[in-house]
Symmetry: C2
Subunit: 401 residues, 2 copies
Amino acid sequence: MVEQWSDRWSRRGRMAASVTRPSRTPVEGLVSFNYGDPDADSLPLNEMVEAAEYLAENRRVDALGYQDPVRGDELNEALAEKLRRDQEIDATASEILVTTGAAGGLSLLCDMLIDPGDVVLADGPAWMGATNMFRLSGAETINVELDDDGLDPALVRTKLDELESQGTRPKFLYTIPTFQNPAGVETSLERRKGLAQLADERGLLMVEDDAYFDLRFSGEKKPTIYSLSRGGNVLFFGTLSKTIAAGLRLGYMVGPEDVVQTFVRGRVDSLRNSYSAALADWYLRSGKLQTHMEELREIYAKKCHHMLAALEREMPEGCSWTKPNGGFFCWVTLPEGCNAAEMLPQCVEAGVQYIPGTGFYSDGRGERNLRLSFSALNEDQIDTGIARLAAQTRAAMSVAT
Amino acid sequence: MVEQWSDRWSRRGRMAASVTRPSRTPVEGLVSFNYGDPDADSLPLNEMVEAAEYLAENRRVDALGYQDPVRGDELNEALAEKLRRDQEIDATASEILVTTGAAGGLSLLCDMLIDPGDVVLADGPAWMGATNMFRLSGAETINVELDDDGLDPALVRTKLDELESQGTRPKFLYTIPTFQNPAGVETSLERRKGLAQLADERGLLMVEDDAYFDLRFSGEKKPTIYSLSRGGNVLFFGTLSKTIAAGLRLGYMVGPEDVVQTFVRGRVDSLRNSYSAALADWYLRSGKLQTHMEELREIYAKKCHHMLAALEREMPEGCSWTKPNGGFFCWVTLPEGCNAAEMLPQCVEAGVQYIPGTGFYSDGRGERNLRLSFSALNEDQIDTGIARLAAQTRAAMSVAT
């Protein structure tokens, strides 16, 4: 009997079978709070035509050719300007690597830093997209608990010491400090300073994913951990998926030039999508991004407030939830005795869907939690969905008691 | 002294420093035969405007949102139709994975199949982009020599037996059967049948990269190894980079549905570029691709014949080169005693650049070879470049004798 090639997957290939990837195809009649998809009506289809016309009129053949992912000009330059203006990040165009979505950048980070058996620290709860990548790369994720003020550097320090006493040193700490996915909270200024200091003091790489920074609709703007650190120990990841369009697959990483250059050489498929990049470059330079971000903040503020009002109105006593100042997500805690994963099949039956909290921890925590995303839904859907969720929660509570 | 994170790269990260990635920025006065970049003047900037208008008029918001890389419709369906018509490949839309360029697909293949220490077989010479990926993934590449009829299954069989007697089984065989990069040759029908049979008989995965299939300007069309095999042992890789635009970063892999689905789960950043995909979908469905391919065949035929004539006219006796029926590349053999890598600095000084043959082997072969790409240059550049190359070859020959 000949051994078949298909019995000889790599370590990662064998793992791939165990990764869940729920379909993104909408189901008739089901209100899904699952995905952080942008508001569909506001997607800039017409502006993309304008951008394409600009590229054609100016015979920008480079936009349809192969391009290096790091350049001193074009989108890298436009992003450097945007980061200086909005995020107060001082970076040159050559310190910016344009990636295939932020996910492409984070995957590359895993390739460059993780060997099987490594340990990484992450928010608790943490975005499952990132922790899935860490797992596929062979790393174990240890969650450090968040509270309403985000990630506490004191808890990180304790965890580092504890691990060090066991001879383990995490490869990096992954955190979303602003409108965290899934928790919806933001890390306070004081704590950001503490995290920056900790990174510098311990030589710990801080991976700052700031996908939602530009979507603040209340509260005071806070500086990034990147801009608070002495430099070299924070890699900053951003995306245009939430503010222009996810379909363009454009993210970026900001870090020291030599780190950026090593990342570029780490994968042969790291060439940028030149056409997407040129469309986005036009969008940034024409000032459209600034105007569009203003519109988006209003759109998401309305959706978020509508959902918070619905939760307040519908949910039974004993439930609580975070009150986001921006972003796409809200984190719900059910009463003692409830289990969000166990409740899910009945919820789907009743026409509402969410992601259970346990998916955002690597250690079984989050049983009583669930993530709700309000970004893609309209007000009617939100009302219907929350009413269904509340009814199912009541049903579960009556069984629990 | 605190250990810094930057001293703790992964195996792959440490390797990244040793990968060379020459800049794609053109140098004034230098004729570069280095890159297989498409002809710039024919890039469809205006058609992209038409496609963008179509998407805007039809409110195709899905084209700016997140999309799964495998779908039963849209670009997958258009590609299935194209493959049936042009390549005689019979595949359903769900057997097609849209990737970030063919390079994205091949990288994913490495992730799914290669563990450090593995061995893979490849053409000799082989495309360095692919062998660089194999190396970054930790595999050793063993080259099986090509001749004017392409890759010989008998040589592959001998190599397999030899390796097996040492207890080694290659993870796959990587080959470009049509207008091979760098050699410019094509594998004969008889040999394609032999390779398909070998794959089925040995359970050996055949990775068929057919980037240049659509750019034939002479000779008879040959079936793919994929369509000649019983099925399941060949993965077919294609790209729209050469026939629409490299800047869209669209490639595709064709294989059994379960393999395709495992690949999708192997990386979290495998979501497709929805906007690029929708633009390309329009391009295929409108019939533009067919017309454009006809134009491109004429353009590249002219360039190739112009270069072959220049080689014939200029190069000293004792040099030989392949006579491509399509594609972008021609492979030159210099006379005994010449060394293409050693000659390169003087060539660059004299204003001409090529890639030395040793870069396409993992074992030091190819000393007397060099790759010339004619795809991106105009006739004047080709004339000037070949005259310079001929003069430098003469100079090297006079030193060698």
